[in-house]
């Protein structure tokens, strides 16, 4: 069964400090991993996906299959990064496209 775990409900960092939002997953097939972000009063939007290996707004995430992790990192946090972050996966092996979400981490960047 697919499961996504985000161990931190809340995370606060100072502006300019590095930030890491943790995500671990378990799966029974071939997962594709995503990070979605929800800024205050806005919709869920895709931040990045592991297969594209892009860096969006300074965020990166590396898929570590050995540790089954997909942690989101940014070297220097900005105030505008304050938001709710959700890690999610799709089990591509199942042929389905439904997203399994973690419970989310609320990031607050302190000025």
């Amino acid at each position: 069964a697919q499961r996504v775990t985000q161990p931190e409900k809340l995370l606060s960092v100072f502006k300019g400090a590095p930030v890491e939002l943790k995500c671990n997953y378990s799966y029974s097939g071939s997962p594709e991993l995503f990070w979605y972000v929800q800024y205050s009063r806005q919709r869920l939007q895709l931040l990045l996906r592991h297969i594209s290996r892009e860096s969006i707004k300074g965020f990166t995430a590396d898929l570590n299959k050995g540790e089954t992790s997909f942690h989101l990192k940014k070297p220097f946090a900005q105030e505008e990064d304050s938001a709710m972050y959700y890690c999610a996966l799709i089990d591509k092996g199942s042929g389905a496209n439904n997203l399994f979400f973690g419970t989310g981490t609320r990031l607050t960047v302190i000025p």
Partner: protein, 112 residues
Amino acid sequence: EPEVTQTPSHQVTQMGQEVILRCVPISNHLYFYWYRQILGQKVEFLVSFYNNEISEKSEIFDDQFSVERPDGSNFTLKIRSTKLEDSAMYFCASSRLLETQYFGPGTRLLVL
């Protein structure tokens, strides 16, 4: 940039009443989804829809739920007889193919 839209933004209903939540997916998208998020919990998949039929559904999507694409633009979620535990934020999403899903702003449903 085109966006998924949802109406209404908020809906309050009495237990046992039927509700219909509406979504307009992005126009050239072919796959449509409904998710829900009970307050304080994770976003959960309900159902996906492709080629005018359900392609996947979760355990949550029981006989009380149905989806429809009544015309070329709308995608609706109907809850036949609402229960208190149906109170949640309901998100619609769409994707062009089996790739990035774009989410609507959500409908907050409160069942009294």
